[in-house]
C-alpha cells in the first residue's frame, strides 16, 4: 500500500512516567500510541501469502511482549539456534528447573522463518520457535505434541527499523502461547545470546478503546459475535467486573455515523464513540463507566486484554491487528 494512503500519525506515547517530568508538548508527549489510519484487509503485497501458514495464530490466546532489537541474529543460522536452544533447555532441566517431573521427556525445538508474516519488504521475516514434546512412550511415527510456541514478528515496523544500526535485527513484537516456564527459559536464552530484553506489553484503556472503535468499524460479511467490553471497578471491597455487550450491527451503525473519512480514524471520533456507549449505559444503569477501567475488548476480529493478551479470530484482518500491536511494541521499547 502506498504510504500516502495512511492518515497522519498521532503523537507517540511515552514509555515510562515516574521518572522526571518529560512532559514536553511536542516530542514524547504522553498520549495515544496508535496511528490514526483505520484497519483494512490484508494489503496487496500480502495477497499472495498463504493464509494457511499463518492460520496457526488464530483462535489461540497469545501473550504479548515487546523485544528490543536482536544483536547479530542471522536468519540463515536457524537450525544452529534450534540445536543450541534445545541444549540449553536440556541443561536447565538438569539444573532442576524442569517443568515436568516423572517421565523423562525430550523437548524438541524447531526454529523457522515465516516470510508471510510481515507488512512490507523492509520488515524482517517473522521467526517462529516451537517446542514440542517427544515422549519415548509414543510411537515412532506419531506427531510430537506442541507445548509452546513463540513468534517474533514485525508488521510495518519501519519506524524502528529505520533508526537502528545494521547489526541489529528488528522484531519488536513477541507472541507466546504455552506455559510461562518455557517462555522464561526461551526468553533468557535469547537475552543471553542476542543482548535483547523482553518486557510484558500491557495495553492501556486508552489503546483498548481505540481498538474497540477500529475493530467495530471493520467491514465484515457476516457479523457473528457481539462487541463485548469488560470494565473493572476500582477501589471496592470486593472486585467488581462489568461486562457490556453490544450487538455488532448496532455498534457498526453507530461507528459509521461518527467516522467522517473512511480509512482514517481520529482520537475525537474514538472519544465520541466511547462516550456514546458510556452515556447509553448510564441512562439505563446510572453507572459512570468512564470512572472505571476498561480491561478487555472482544469483537469478531480479535479480543484484547489489558494485561497484554490477545486472541486473533479473523485471518482477513490478522495483518492489521499485528500492525497495531507492532506499533504498541515499538512505543513500549522507546
Amino acid at each position: 500500500m502506498e504510504s500516502a494512503e495512511w492518515g497522519s500519525r498521532v503523537l507517540p506515547s511515552l514509555g515510562r512516567l515516574s521518572r522526571g517530568p518529560p512532559f514536553g508538548r511536542m516530542q514524547g508527549q504522553l498520549g495515544l500510541s496508535l496511528s490514526s489510519h483505520g484497519l483494512s484487509p490484508a494489503p496487496r503485497s500480502l495477497a499472495n501469502a498463504d493464509p494457511r501458514r499463518t492460520a496457526f495464530l488464530l483462535h489461540k490466546q497469545w501473550t504479548l511482549y515487546s523485544v528490543t532489537p536482536l544483536y547479530r541474529f542471522s536468519s540463515a543460522r536457524l537450525r544452529a539456534y534450534a540445536r543450541m536452544l534445545s541444549a540449553f533447555i536440556a541443561a536447565e532441566k538438569q539444573k532442576g528447573l524442569a517443568v515436568e517431573v516423572g517421565v523423562e521427556l525430550d523437548i524438541k525445538v524447531a526454529v523457522s522463518s515465516l516470510p508471510d508474516l510481515r507488512g512490507t519488504d523492509q520488515d524482517q521475516a517473522a521467526i517462529l520457535v516451537q517446542l514440542s514434546l517427544r515422549s519415548p512412550i509414543s510411537k515412532k511415527n506419531s506427531e510430537d505434541k506442541l507445548v509452546w510456541s513463540g513468534c517474533f514478528c514485525s508488521v510495518f515496523g519501519d519506524d524502528l527499523s529505520e533508526k537502528i544500526p545494521p547489526d541489529f535485527t528488528c522484531l519488536p513484537l513477541f507472541l507466546t502461547n504455552g506455559a510461562e516456564s518455557y517462555t522464561s527459559i526461551v526468553g533468557s536464552w535469547f537475552q543471553k545470546n542476542f543482548d535483547c530484553s523482553f518486557r510484558r506489553l500491557a495495553i492501556s484503556p486508552l489503546n483498548l478503546g481505540w481498538m474497540a472503535a477500529m475493530w467495530t468499524g471493520c467491514k465484515m460479511d457476516i457479523l457473528t459475535s457481539a462487541i463485548e467490553l469488560v470494565f473493572s471497578v476500582p477501589r471496592l471491597p470486593q472486585p467488581l467486573d462489568i461486562s457490556y455487550a453490544i450487538h455488532p450491527e448496532d455498534a457498526k451503525a453507530l461507528w459509521d455515523t461518527i467516522q467522517k473519512t473512511p480509512g482514517e480514524i481520529t482520537q475525537e471520533e474514538v472519544d465520541v464513540f466511547m462516550d456514546c456507549l458510556y452515556a447509553h449505559f448510564h441512562r439505563h444503569f446510572k453507572i459512570h463507566l468512564s470512572a472505571t477501567k476498561l480491561v478487555k475488548v472482544s469483537t469478531a476480529i480479535a479480543s484484547a486484554h489489558c494485561d497484554g493478551i490477545i486472541k486473533f479470530l479473523q485471518s482477513q484482518y490478522l495483518t492489521g491487528v499485528l500492525m497495531l500491536l507492532t506499533e504498541l511494541a515499538i512505543c513500549h521499547i522507546q
Binding site: 503523537l11 506515547s13 511515552l14 514509555g15 515510562r16 512516567l17 515516574s18 517530568p21 512532559f23 508538548r25 508527549q29 504522553l30 498520549g31 495515544l32 500491557a202 495495553i203 492501556s204 484503556p205 486508552l206 478503546g209 476500582p234 477501589r235 482520537q267 472519544d271 459512570h288 468512564s290 470512572a291 472505571t292 477501567k293 476498561l294 489489558c306
Partner: protein, 177 residues
Amino acid sequence: MSVVQPFDKLPIPNSAACLLVGSDEGLQQRLAEALLLEKKSFKISIHLATSLPLPSERDHLRPRIDLIVFMIDIKSKYSLENVEASLAYVDASFFLGKVCFLVTGVGRVNSCSVEISAVWKLGEAYCSPVLFCELELEGIRVATAQRLLRMLQICAGHITGVSALSFGLLMRNSDDN
C-alpha cells in the same frame, strides 16, 4: 451566588484558602493532609469539593478562595468530564493565575484512560498551568504539596512583588520552551 468569585470577600490577615475540586475524595484527602503537614508561616484552610457549584447555604462561612486546584485522575475519564463541567462555575477573573490543573496518577501509564493532549488543550484554553504528579508516592506528594503551597502564597498576595498573574505567565512561558 453559585459562581466562585475571587474578590467578593475581604481577605483575612495572614491566611490563605485553597479549594481542591476533583471526583476522587481519597486523593484529595491525601493531598490536603500533605499540604497541612508542610511548614508555613501563615494560616491555611483547605476546602474539598467533588464538583462545582458549591452549595450556597454555607457561602457566608467560607473565606475568600485564593487558589483553585482542579484534580484530574489520569485513570478516570469521568474525572476529566467532572472538571470540565465544574469550570463553568468559576468566575472568569479567577483564570488570571489563580487556577491550576493537577493531573494525578501519572505513574501508571498502563492504566491511562485520559488523553494528555486533551488536558494540555484544557490548560491552554483556560490559560492555567498544568502540573503532573503521582500522589501515591510520598516523595512526589510532598513535592507537589510544596509547589501548591508556594502558588497559594503568591495567589494570596503574601509575596511582595509577585502577583498571581505574573507568576501564571511565568509558568506558561516556561512550559512553551
